[in-house]
Amino acid sequence: MQWRSWAVGLMYRYFALIGAVIGFCMVLTTSCIASAEPPILPPHGSCSLPLPATASDEEAIRAILTAEGELVVAQNIDALMKLWREGAKITDAKNTPDDPQDDQAWLDKDAIRHRYVRTVFPGAPAQATPKDLQLQLMDDRAIVAATTQIGGEISPAGDRWTLVKDQNCWAIQSLTYNLEAK
């Protein structure tokens, strides 16, 4: 009987110790989680590119538009989408810049992603390079007129990009293309 009560006592102490350790761990780890910093968002826009910290606004904007062309050729959709802001928009002006009635729009990033995957990538462009960039910088906003060459198709001054600087990162807010009148 003595041996039995000693064994039961040992068992209780053993479980009490385990319970205490688990409780301690839970309190410790829960408090760690509760006091954790807000999640760090993945880098977006120009901050997703390997730019030097000293890059100017103009350098960051040019880098984004160059990267957009290169990533289209590489068909790297995840990296491409990092260049765009939430709520971004692409518009096809249909070569009638003065008539918005016939415009065609891809609204927000899901639609822009869809356009890349289902319209742009199937053409397998070997080259997509913005040229003749004309930048207008207005504080945290930029408008860029560009000539884009996708493969053999050249659109002189046919593209207008708007970019916005947010948390020190430039990102694309909109693209309007086919702006050159027929």
Partner: protein, 242 residues
């Protein structure tokens, strides 16, 4: 005493190891919650419940709109899509076989269902279910509308489901002036893809769930009608975390 000494020594060695093991286990569960699923012996709900499907905006690569949705009927190629209810909620449908043979030749779907549903308010919705095991049957609807001379805008929309979560699809607002018509014909299209499992292999089959209707008020109001229809077939959605 001679026999107890080795036991006590053994316990004194085991106890710290047990405590250390429990501590590591607790740390693992708290800091790496993804390990909880295999440790608990659970698998994804899509594998356990045959009526749970993976829904997404595209079938090429996962998007961040991918979700696991619970359906009230089978939407996979292991089942006959004709079994999808014709009468559901306030909606009653009829089969309208595709008469354009070019569609079947071009798409070569494994299953192709085309139905016209109507609710008690007199609103119509076309339901197209296209199933296949290659990319050929899945021409993006906007490409087809564009090729046929329609003008469109495209966006995405979350449809809130009755038991929680949102099912994302792409919507299309398309219009075209038909010969001899004084006004544009307008279509509102809403669609998404369904996969039978999280692996999303083409060989396992994909089903395109596509709704087409006229415009009932604004695009948003029309999508609310589509949402009512979608809610008859899907009850809840869980967005997958990347």
């Amino acid at each position: 005493m001679l026999t107890e000494a080795p036991q006590t020594e053994s316990k004194s060695k085991v106890r710290p190891l047990a405590v250390l093991g429990l501590f590591l286990l607790a740390m693992l569960f708290v800091y790496f919650p993804q390990f909880q699923i295999p440790l608990w012996g659970q698998s994804s709900s899509a594998q356990n419940n045959p009526l749970v499907y993976i829904a997404d905006l595209d079938f090429w690569q996962r998007t961040n709109r991918e979700s696991a949705v619970t359906a009230v009927s089978h939407f996979d190629l292991a089942h006959d899509l004709n079994a999808v209810p014709l009468a559901i909620g306030d909606w009653k449908g009829i089969d309208v076989p595709e008469t354009n043979q070019e569609v079947m030749i071009l798409l070569e779907p494994e299953q192709y269902i085309q139905r016209l549903y109507q609710n008690s308010a007199g609103q119509y919705i076309w339901l197209s279910l296209i199933g296949g095991r290659s990319s050929q049957p899945f021409h993006a609807p906007d490409i087809c509308y564009d090729a046929d001379g329609w003008q469109y805008n495209l966006g995405s929309h979350p449809m809130t489901l009755a038991n929680g979560g949102a099912l994302y699809g792409l919507w299309l607002e398309a219009k075209k002036r038909m010969p001899g018509d004084a006004a544009d014909t307008e279509h509102i299209v809403f669609y998404f893809y369904l996969f039978p499992n999280a692996e999303r292999r083409l060989s396992d089959g994909i089903v395109l769930f596509k709704l087409t209707s006229g415009r009932y008020g604004s695009v948003e109001e029309t999508l609310a009608v589509h949402a009512d229809f979608v809610n008859q077939f899907f009850t809840d959605a869980n967005t997958r975390q990347e």
